[in-house]
């Protein structure tokens, strides 16, 4: 009986940590994605890299599960490239 409770507590604290990480990430994103020194124009970011980079961001923000998958296997964020 004791062991079962322990597992449930562990699960809840695990979820709490996950949620806290998610909140932290969202708070950071709320600032770094659109605020600060925003420079636009031709000299910033070379075109070829952008799609992949943006793709990564899109994958990143879709769900916690996706995030975990990425964290576990760096090249595994495989999404179809926009055709």
């Amino acid at each position: 009986m004791d062991r079962q409770i322990k597992t449930l507590q562990d699960k809840n604290s695990y979820l709490d940590i996950r949620k806290q990480e998610r909140v932290t990430l969202l708070e950071v994103l709320d600032r770094v994605l659109t605020k600060g020194v925003v420079i636009s124009g031709d000299i910033v970011i070379s075109v070829a890299d952008v799609d992949l980079v943006y793709l990564g961001l899109k994958v990143l923000l879709s769900s916690v599960e996706t995030m975990e998958r990425l964290r576990g296997a760096p090249m595994a964020g495989a999404q179809e490239e926009p055709t």
């Binding site: 709490d16 949620k19 806290q20 998610r22 909140v23 932290t24 969202l26 708070e27 994103l29 709320d30 994605l33 659109t34 952008v50 943006y54 961001l57 899109k58 923000l61 926009p82 055709t83």
Partner: protein
């Protein structure tokens, strides 16, 4: 790793839900995918149409409240606004757009609607 920054809340899930709704993460970029271009244009056009429609509704309501329209005119205005609303609903469904998507961010001026 020293981080003296704190992030505290009593309701993680509630905030995760709301902030995710808000974050439109991709900086605007013209996507060559034709489907997306179509949707992007539809969004822009429908946003403007919605703006006009809402303004019309407000204007009409003011005039009706003010009592300056005849019964027949009120009837016609009502019919027209009803049809407009239904039409917009149809169009939104066709393009798979939600109400919240039909808005434009005007930077320092805030959102259009």
């Amino acid at each position: 790793m020293t981080m003296n920054r704190i992030i505290e809340t009593d309701s993680q899930e509630a905030f995760i839900k709301e902030i995710e709704k808000v974050q439109d993460v991709l900086p605007k970029r013209i996507d060559a995918n034709p489907k997306n271009v179509e949707k992007g244009l539809a969004k822009l056009v429908l946003t403007l149409v919605e703006l006009i429609r809402k303004l019309l509704e407000k204007q009409a309501m003011r005039r009706i409240e003010g009592g300056s329209l005849s019964d027949e005119e009120i009837e016609r205005v009502g019919e027209t606004l009803m049809k407009l609303e239904n039409k917009m609903q149809e169009l939104k469904e066709i393009f798979g757009l939600k109400d919240e998507e039909l808005n434009l961010n005007l930077g320092p001026l805030g959102d259009l609607m």
